[in-house]
């Protein structure tokens, strides 16, 4: 079986020969040197490894690399190039939402995933969107406040949308 896997990584087309069941996280960190996504728990519990696949938040530690064949993968390194990241970064800094920083890339990706779908989130929407991301410093309130501010002051950076939930 041919093990060539092709996908779009931060807007760049990539091909690699890999064990199809290798985790996307290991592939990003070790094969592509993208170390923004972190290995926290390695089993989908903590969200430190979160990236976007076709615009949706996933835990890269339990995503087999074959699952992203033909898809777009967007990591914190890709997001860094955008004005939306500048806004999130500014708001995280202002709110003191970064302590040890290990969870921060995952938190920022979860915030991006939320704001892309719901540009006017309530506090509850934000807490639900972050529910799979653990912060061991337990700085949740500052993170929620940072995202609330980013949504407000960054209006226009994310497409105007409202997710009615279920």
């Amino acid at each position: 079986m041919d093990n060539a896997i092709c996908f779009l990584l931060n807007n760049r087309s990539v091909t690699l020969q890999a064990d199809p069941l290798r985790s996307l996280l290991d592939t990003l960190r070790e094969d592509f040197g993208l170390t923004g996504a972190k290995k926290g728990c390695g089993e989908g519990e903590c969200g430190a490894c979160a990236v976007l696949v076709d615009g949706r938040l996933v835990n890269s530690c339990i995503t087999p690399v074959i699952a992203v064949e033909g898809k777009t993968v967007f990591t914190i390194e890709g997001l860094r190039e955008t004005p939306r990241f500048q806004e999130l970064s500014r708001c995280f800094a202002q709110a003191g939402a970064v302590q040890c920083g290990f969870c921060t890339p995952g938190m920022v990706m979860a915030a991006e995933a939320l704001l892309m779908r719901n540009s006017f989130p309530t506090e509850q929407d934000i807490r639900t969107a972050l529910s799979g991301n653990l912060c061991r410093c337990t700085g949740y309130s500052a993170i929620v406040a940072a995202i609330m501010t980013a949504a407000k002051e960054g209006e226009g950076l994310w497409p105007a949308s409202f997710d009615p939930g279920i």
Binding site: G44, G47, N59, I62, P64, G132, I166
Partner: protein, 279 residues
Amino acid sequence: MARVFRPGNLKEALHFLDAERAAVLAGGTDFMLKAGRYPGAEFAVLSIGHLHELKRIAIDAANVLSLGAVCTLSEILESPLVPLFLKLPIAEIGSPAIRNAATAGGNVCNASPAGDVLPMLYALDATLVLKSHGDQHEMQIRDFIQGPGLIRIAAGQMLTEIRIPLRQTWRCTWRKVGGRRANSVSKTSFYALIDRTSRGLGDVRIALGAIAPTVVRSREAERIILDAYRGKPSQRCTEIIALYDALISPIDDSRSCRDYRRTVSLGLLENFLTEVMRI
């Protein structure tokens, strides 16, 4: 290293399964954890999460909802065709990132006693479409799931579709008891449906999760509850609870203990009978 086959379509997938015994990979949220326990193991894997043919959500003329086996939980939550009584349990599974990958079919085929998609499928008498190369079967979920991790599936067969008969008048009660709001495996769960219209109560269904090797449902007990509600001489609430008490067999494990599970499960049942049914 596992040998992984990524078929171009369903036909190719079934053809592969016909020739070879393979583990089926959909969203990977459980699979990747299990595969990690056997480093270096040689096994064949059929990867199906990308197959559009298995992502269909539709309602047919008989008001039966079809969910393609690899619909992610997020896709089900976002579908306007899926009623709230199916969305409530799904919305409490995992986290947004898990729901973006995990599939309904995966939850069924894992056959975990704590699988949160299962109680509602039992309560709704869901059936499963099992396809193989040149053949197709339909099976009740209660016949498909045999025990923890055990399913009745023949060599070459694959779950392709979950079929759920709908009634617009169903109203559900769902309670999941877990360690935290997100990413928790149920210690115990309770799903009930009532069909109450202006003409009175038409039907009641109750399914208890994570308190026995498989979901517990009793048609006999449901009939007795209906009679009790309609004021026919019948058992009282305590006797109905005793019926379920005899059916459950909770275990001690890392998440909870049998006494807790029994007490909470029967407490949720009692609350439903007295507060929702008002028996």
